[in-house]
């Protein structure tokens, strides 16, 4: 059944289109401009007229950032730090969520653990960066990836706990019980039954933790000093300088910093909102 298009509906459609159009423009232009700037040559930055369209595009800034400035090392650090953060967060997250979702525990305990994890989400990093700096100094792990891995794991644990809780709750207890009746012990049934079933969820949680750690800047800025541990965002910030006009390099670094989380979102897009809202919004 098709409704006739009255002038009023047409007007509505027009307004809707206009709204969406403006939104799309505001949404996309900044990203477009970042990419265009990242393709400019240095001499173009000093031209009096600024081209809004790509003009003599070059990948020079990318080479400059990754090779000449040696940022590939920072990229490597970022990947290492994020990878181990994911491993630690997921393992600890599973250790904490397994008992509260798969075992008969008092509701109070379950609620207590979840509440406590949620409260960590409210912890402002800037307020604890001061004591953490003192601790890192005392432990002599300043400028070492392990300091970041530890802190990132801690700050991502709330997300991981809530996401994993959601995924584990969805798997019927009976499946594991059945395995155990067949003679498997709890460890094997965890390993053989639960883990494979929860794998997609664990993977999603891992990717989300990865992207969050990838974006972290404050701790990385304060707790690193050299390419031994510096992560990519620290490098990006280093290009925002007062003494040099290097907007193209700056933009290229920005593009690279964005590219990896965006690429990962192709896999985990369904779960981002679940992660950010602690499971209230879910994909059905």
């Amino acid at each position: 059944m098709k409704r006739a298009r009255t002038p009023v509906t047409l007007l509505r459609i027009a307004i809707a289109l206009l709204g969406l159009g403006i939104a799309a423009l505001l949404y996309a232009f900044p990203l477009y401009w970042l990419v265009v700037t990242s393709l400019k040559t240095k001499s173009e930055l000093f031209a009096a007229t600024i081209h809004l369209l790509p003009h003599n595009a070059t990948i020079e800034p990318y080479v400059s950032v990754l090779i000449d400035r040696g940022f590939w090392v920072l990229l490597k650090n970022s990947i290492i730090v994020c990878f181990f953060t994911v491993v630690v967060t997921i393992v600890v997250g599973l250790i904490i969520t397994y008992p509260i979702t798969r075992l008969a525990v008092p509701v109070r305990l379950r609620v207590g653990v979840l509440n406590w994890a949620l409260s960590l989400r409210f912890l402002p990093p800037i307020a604890v960066v001061i004591p953490y700096f003192a601790i890192v100094r005392t432990l002599q792990i300043y400028d070492q990836p392990i300091a970041l891995i530890g802190i990132y794991s801690l700050f991502n644990l709330p997300f991981a706990i809530w996401m994993l809780k959601g995924f584990l709750t969805e798997i019927p207890l009976e499946l594991e019980d059945a395995a155990m009746v067949d003679g498997a012990n709890r460890w094997t049934s965890f390993l053989r039954v639960l883990l494979p079933l929860a794998a997609p969820g664990i993977m999603a949680a891992g990717i989300i933790v990865f992207t969050f750690s990838w974006s972290e800047f404050l701790f990385a800025l304060i707790l690193t000093a050299t390419p031994n541990a510096q992560t990519f965002p620290v490098g990006v910030q280093g290009l925002v300088t007062q003494f040099e006009i290097i907007w193209n390099d700056m933009a290229a670094a920005g593009v690279i910093a964005m590219a990896i989380p965006l690429a990962l979102m192709v896999i985990a897009r369904k779960y981002v909102v679940a992660g950010l809202t602690f499971g209230v919004i879910r994909e059905k």
């Binding site: 809707a16 809004l52 600890v92 001061i130 004591p131 800047f217 964005m258 897009r269 909102v273 919004i281």
Partner: protein, 310 residues
Amino acid sequence: MSRLVAELPAPTDERPVRVGRRRRGRQERLAYLILLPALGTVFVIVTIPFIVVLIQSVTADDGSFLGLRNFTRALANPLFYEALRATGVYALIVLPSEIVLGLGFALLVHRTVRRAGLRATLYVLAVLPLVVPPVAIGVVARLIYAPGYGVLNIILERLGLIHQEIQWLSNPTLAMLSVASVDVWQWTPFVYLVLFAGLQTVPRESVEAAQVDGAGWWTQFRYIELFYLRPLFLLILFFRLADVLRVFDHVYILTGGGPGTTTQLLSLYLYRTEFKFFDTGQAAALAVVVLVSISILYSLITRVLPLERA
């Protein structure tokens, strides 16, 4: 076709694990055996900084006890109140804008976009900003607003709308708006996604019934949809408030707190006190104040939060 929905906990949503009493006892012991070491470790790691910062706030660098002197210093500093004010203004700009815009788009798409494919595309597009590093967004914002090479002025000039550069980052009001706009750009999609998901939970029958009764879109929104969205607004407020208190990266890159101290949010002020003035005592005192206020705020908000707990 999968779709995103809000899963609000029903009051009776208690998942009973039915097992015999003996087995329950055993399982409980096992649970504690697994939980305690892990939780204990995490708890210690989380708690140590609180103790350290508390000690730092009442002692001098040489370890001598100062009493509350750092606190009086921190609270007597006018910059602290400027930072509080800036944070408040920032929150008052970004939270309503994001909610209004997010709600607007959610309703718009909900009402006008029917094609599943298009909805899915919009979903992916809305997810993207959420995972972009704020540092990179700060870089984008500089390319847009900076004096001299900021593209926004260039476009406005080409369109003939302005003849003199607008001082986006120099005028205190505009600087705050510029900084806030970055936040709105990144987080409106989040609000959109949450509210859009919420709209999917509105039972079709009640909407149709209302339409039969001749309810206009406003009535429909006001009396039906809003009812289902209400808990989600709280949720959005909760997460966005937590985020506003931790905003640092893009402001640090875009204005560094300027002009003057207009955009020096609480987090930037704390950073400056500790890592530019190296006044650890005062910074620690500030951190304690912030942590205590946030704990209070947190306990107030969580009472009404629609999160599934069990």
